[in-house]
């Protein structure tokens, strides 16, 4: 479903993604693990047409997202690291807007919105403004929205960041459910190892823009001779801290947090 070959992305003389290759099979839940600044988000951006690769080959459901942008965009849904809901609209309106942008026919749009909002336990709140939602509710709404146009692939970029264990648990149960019932391929990144351990069929560990290991959680543990995925991860990526310089997006994120209630 996803094929990446020798993908490279440079920003000036900084190489964010350095010659990575991997495949994700149809219906698979694939996790991308890596320390901050490893190149996870950059890879997702290239797969989702938001960034042009410096070189390398990409394929989403047989299409090159850099060339067939329009067709590729119809095939995936995405939940970004930063919120992308319209806070001044209701949950229902956010779904409607998305459905209209993706050209989902009216009847199917309404039915699917209802199904998804019910599944993500937001149906009762459909007419409330999103700005009055909790962090967990917003995330659930974003994921529900990502599924609305029945994508073949769903990208989740750190979807559980800042959520309490209950919300995280519920969120993954629902994503898993949809993965099984609709055989949607899921590509996710996270910092929580136990989540990857629980939901992902296969895991790629990425560090300094390179993939250092790919395999199931079992395989990674066996390879490193460790007990838990967390230990395997540390064995693969080392224990040094990654102090990145803050980018303009990070600075804005800080301001955003200040203003959030």
């Amino acid at each position: 479903m996803i094929r990446v070959q020798n993908l490279i992305k440079r920003f000036g003389d900084f190489t964010a993604v350095n010659d990575i290759s991997f495949n994700v099979n149809k219906g698979e839940i694939f996790a991308f693990l890596g320390p901050n600044g490893a190149g996870k988000t950059t890879t997702i951006k290239m797969l989702t047409t938001l960034l042009r690769p410096t070189s390398g080959a990409l394929e989403l459901d047989g299409l090159n997202p850099a060339v067939k942008q329009h067709e590729a965009r119809q095939r995936f849904g995405i939940v970004f690291q930063d919120p992308s809901l319209d806070q001044d609209l209701t949950a229902w309106e956010n779904m409607e807007l998305h459905g209209l942008l993706y050209d989902v026919p009216r009847k199917a749009r309404r039915e699917r919105t209802e199904t998804l909002l019910k599944l993500f336990e937001l149906w009762e709140k459909r007419d409330s403004m999103v700005k009055n939602f909790s962090g967990g509710m917003k995330r659930r709404l974003e994921i529900a929205r990502g599924f609305l146009h029945t994508p073949k692939i769903l990208f989740l970029d750190e979807p559980t960041l800042g959520l309490d264990p209950q919300s995280r648990n519920q969120l993954w149960t629902q994503v898993k459910y949809l993965n099984e019932t609709e055989s949607v391929t899921v590509f996710l990144t996270t910092h929580y190892m136990e989540e990857a351990d629980r939901v992902a069929h296969r895991i790629a560990v990425i560090d300094h823009g390179r993939i250092v290991a790919v395999g199931s959680s079992q395989e990674l543990k066996k390879r490193t001779g460790t007990e838990s995925l967390e230990d395997a991860f540390l064995a693969l990526t080392g224990e040094s801290l990654r102090d990145e310089t803050a980018t303009s997006a990070d600075q804005m994120r800080q301001v955003a947090q200040m203003w959030r209630r």
Binding site: L50, L51, R73, Q74, L85, D86, N94, Y102, D103, M252
Partner: protein, 248 residues
């Protein structure tokens, strides 16, 4: 077309729901209108130029539209990182349509805000020469709104972070306002100032508005409309190009 329409509608809904912001953003025009309007009124009258309130009302309407339109462009910077705009950038809709929908929405909202200020000026004592002038007045308001919504998109797609905001505010938006002749007549200016005002698109907007509403024009209505339309087309093209280059 559907995408353009719903993005336009989104801007409109957001505006109508933000009552507090609507009222807050009326503060500044009200201050200019009441304090300057009545404060400078006697001097203006003594200089033999008639009622200052009458003179400055079109300028304040122009100012309101300018500020509103440019700010909605700057909000685009926020929207593309933390808002719904990011969603639209990965949707199967050409960027040009997204840009058009958003810009038209911003222009419409600025128009509404301008209309609100127009009503306030009427209450404060502003009297257009005739009711028949109103449609032409709205046409000029629309032109001003489109020009600066276009400028807003150019700025919003080009800025990298919020620090640029102060720069834009102090070196672009405020000069655009002060050099526009919103507050003073364009006649008998020192040559340098006259040249600067003639480079400011808002000068033509305010002048056109003044010409149709109270019959006091400097450049001529046809010139005003032509300059505004040309600048609008140029800014929209530039905005479309900048917007298509946005990488999140």
């Amino acid at each position: 077309m559907k995408a353009i329409y719903i993005l336009w509608l989104r801007e409109l809904k957001r505006y109508l729901r933000s009552r507090v912001q609507i009222i807050a953003s009326l503060g500044q025009p009200l201050l200019y209108l009441l304090v300057l309007g009545f404060g400078l009124g006697p001097v203006f009258r003594k200089a033999g130029s008639g009622s200052y309130l009458q003179f400055m009302a079109p300028g304040i309407i122009g100012m309101t539209i300018l500020f509103n339109a440019v700010f909605s462009g700057i909000a685009l910077l926020w929207d593309r990182q933390f808002g719904f705009l990011k969603e639209t950038l990965v949707a199967p809709v050409p960027r040009l349509r997204i840009m058009i929908g958003r810009t038209l929405g911003a222009a419409t909202v600025s128009m509404l805000q301008g209309t609100l200020v127009l009503v306030i000026t009427l209450v404060a004592g502003f009297r257009p020469s005739s009711l028949a002038a109103m449609p032409a007045g709205f046409l000029f308001m629309a032109l001003i709104a489109i020009v600066f919504a276009g400028l807003g998109v150019v700025i919003g797609s080009s800025l990298k972070d919020m620090q640029g905001f102060q720069l834009v505010m102090n070196f672009l938006v405020l000069p655009l306002f002060f050099l526009s002749g919103a507050l003073f007549p364009l006649e008998h200016l020192p040559r340098a100032l006259a040249a600067a005002t003639s480079l400011d698109p808002l000068s033509y907007g305010v002048d056109g508005l003044r010409a149709v509403l109270i019959g006091m024009g400097h450049f001529g209505i046809a010139v005003d409309a032509a300059v505004l339309a040309t600048v609008a087309v140029m800014l929209l093209c530039l905005g479309a190009w900048r917007f298509s280059r946005i990488e999140v």
